[in-house]
C-alpha cells in the first residue's frame, strides 16, 4: 500500500491555526454525524489535504477519528433507545468486506488510469450515487412535509414490506428496529454496498441509512443511529489496516476527534427534539449540494485524462476552490438545520412545560 518508513516523514508540522481549523471542522462534522449517522468525512479528508497532508495519510487519519467518534455517538443514542446493535454489526461485517473490495478496485483503477482516472472514478461515483439517492431522500422528505404527516409514525415502503415478507430458511434473523425477521441475504449486499461507498467516497452512510429505511423498513431515527455502529465496525477494521502500513497520523486524528466529540454529543441530543423526517431533510440537502460540488470536478479530471479539451490552470484552480467551498457550505448548512431544529424543539418543549404549569396552578 505504502512505504512505512516514508509515511512518518509525510506527517506535516502542526501550528496553532491548523489545530483550530481541524478542531472546528471536526466539530461541525461530528454534529452532522451525531444527527444523520455519517457525514463530515467528505470535507475532512480534502480539508487535511489542503494543509499538505498526503491523500492516504488523510484518509487513514480520518478513519482513525471516525471509529471512536462513532462509538461515542452510538453509546449516546443507545441511551435514547435508537440503536439496533445486531443490525449494525451484521451490516458492519459485510460493509468491512465492501471496504476491502472497494479499496482493491480503487488501487486497480489507479494502476491503470493513474491519479486523474482514480479521481474521476471517485467523482463519478459521488455524482451518480448522490444524484439517485439524494434526490430520492429529499423528495420523500418533501412529500412527507407537504402531506402534513410529519407528526405521524413513519410508514414502511412497499419494497421493505416485500423484503420482510420473504422467508428463506436458515437465513432469517430478527431485528428489533424492523420488528421483523429478515433474511441476511438481503442485508449482505446492502452492507457490502455501504462499505464500497465508504472506501470510494468516504461516506458509506449515504447508502447505509437510506437502505435501512427504504429497503429494510427501519425508522429514520433508528437507521441513522445504527449507522454509527456500522461506522464503528468499518472504521476500526479500516484504521487497523492503515495503521499496519504506518499511515495513521495520530495527532490529526485526535485533534479532529477533540472537536467531533463535542459535535456528536450535540447532534445525538438533537435527534430527541426533532421529527424523524428531519433526518431525511438534513441528509438529502447535504447529498444534493455535495453532488454539485463533486460534479464541478468532473471536467478537471476529464481534461487531465485528455478526454476533453485541456483546461487552463486558472480554470482548474477556480473549479477546485469552488468545489471545496460548496462542500464546506453543505456541511455548514446541515449543521445549521440540525441546530435550528433542535432550538425550535427545545423552545416548544419549554413552552409546553410552562403552559402545563399555568394549567395546574389554575
Amino acid at each position: 500500500m505504502h512505504d512505512i518508513a516514508q509515511a512518518a516523514t509525510n506527517f506535516i508540522d502542526l501550528n496553532t491555526a491548523n489545530i483550530i481549523y481541524l478542531f472546528l471542522v471536526g466539530f461541525v462534522g461530528g454534529l452532522v454525524s451525531g444527527f444523520i449517522g455519517s457525514g463530515g468525512a467528505f470535507v475532512l479528508t480534502p480539508g487535511m489535504m489542503s494543509l499538505g497532508v498526503p491523500g492516504l495519510v488523510a484518509v487513514a487519519s480520518n478513519m482513525c477519528h471516525k471509529f471512536p467518534k462513532a462509538l461515542v455517538g452510538a453509546l449516546k443514542r443507545a441511551k435514547y433507545g435508537q440503536v439496533d446493535v445486531k443490525l449494525g454489526i451484521v451490516l458492519g461485517i459485510s460493509a468491512e468486506a465492501g471496504v476491502l473490495y472497494g479499496a482493491h478496485v480503487q488501487e486497480n483503477i489507479k494502476k491503470v488510469f493513474g491519479d486523474a482516472g482514480s479521481n474521476l472514478y471517485v467523482s463519478v461515483a459521488f455524482v451518480v450515487v448522490l444524484a439517485v439517492v439524494g434526490i430520492f431522500v429529499l423528495r420523500d422528505a418533501w412529500k412527507t412535509y407537504k402531506s402534513g404527516t410529519q407528526h405521524e409514525e413513519e410508514k414502511i415502503t412497499k419494497l421493505a414490506r416485500w423484503v420482510q415478507s420473504i422467508h428463506i430458511p436458515g437465513t432469517m434473523v430478527y431485528f428489533k428496529s424492523l420488528n421483523a425477521r429478515v433474511s441476511v441475504l438481503f442485508t449482505l449486499p446492502l452492507g457490502f454496498a455501504t462499505g464500497m461507498l465508504a472506501a470510494t467516497i468516504a461516506v458509506g452512510g449515504f447508502v447505509g441509512v437510506p437502505s435501512m429505511i427504504y429497503v429494510l423498513g427501519a425508522p429514520s431515527l433508528m437507521a441513522s443511529a445504527t449507522e454509527l455502529v456500522i461506522a464503528f465496525v468499518m472504521g476500526l477494521g479500516g484504521s487497523l489496516n492503515y495503521a499496519l502500513h504506518g499511515l495513521v497520523d495520530i495527532r490529526l486524528a485526535m485533534i479532529i476527534l477533540g472537536g467531533s466529540l463535542f459535535g456528536i454529543q450535540l447532534g445525538a441530543i438533537g435527534t430527541t427534539y426533532v421529527k424523524p423526517f428531519m433526518i431525511k431533510v438534513v441528509m438529502g440537502v447535504i447529498m444534493v449540494i455535495v453532488l454539485f460540488s463533486r460534479g464541478l470536478m468532473v471536467p478537471v479530471y476529464l481534461s487531465q485524462l485528455g478526454l476533453i479539451q485541456t483546461l487552463s490552470d486558472s480554470t482548474v484552480k477556480m473549479l477546485k476552490t469552488t468545489s471545496f467551498a460548496i462542500m464546506i457550505f453543505a456541511l455548514a448548512l446541515g449543521a445549521f438545520i440540525v441546530l435550528k431544529a433542535m432550538w425550535q424543539g427545545r423552545q416548544a418543549e419549554k413552552l409546553a412545560a410552562q403552559e402545563s404549569l399555568v394549567h395546574s396552578k389554575a
Binding site: 506527517f11 461515542v72 428496529s177 425508522p219 433508528m222 487497523l240 499496519l244 495527532r251 466529540l261 441530543i269
Partner: protein, 85 residues
C-alpha cells in the same frame, strides 16, 4: 428555589472537571511529544495497535468530558421519552 438548587446540584460538575483535566492532559501530552509519537506510531506491525489503543483512551476520557460538558451547560435530551417504532 429549593428545587432549582437541587437541579443545579444534580449537574455533574465534579465529573466534568475531572474528565476535562485528564482530557487536557492527554492533549498536552500528545502535542508535546509529537516526534516520539510520529516515530513509533507509524512503524506498522504490532505498533499498529498503538494508534487504536490511543483512540479508545481518548474516546473514553474526552467522550465522557464532552457528554458532561453539555449537561452542565443545560443542553440535554428531550424530557419526553421518544418512543422509536
Amino acid at each position: 428555589m429549593a428545587s432549582l438548587d437541587q437541579k443545579i446540584k444534580k449537574k455533574p460538575f465534579g465529573a466534568s472537571i475531572l474528565f476535562g483535566v485528564v482530557s487536557i492532559g492527554l492533549y498536552i501530552t500528545l502535542l508535546a511529544n509529537q516526534d516520539i509519537l510520529n516515530g513509533n506510531f507509524a512503524k506498522g506491525g504490532l505498533f499498529a495497535f498503538l494508534p487504536i489503543i490511543t483512540a479508545f483512551i481518548f474516546s473514553y476520557v474526552h467522550g465522557n468530558f464532552t457528554g458532561h460538558f453539555w449537561t452542565v451547560l443545560g443542553v440535554e435530551a428531550s424530557k419526553k421519552k421518544r418512543e422509536v417504532k
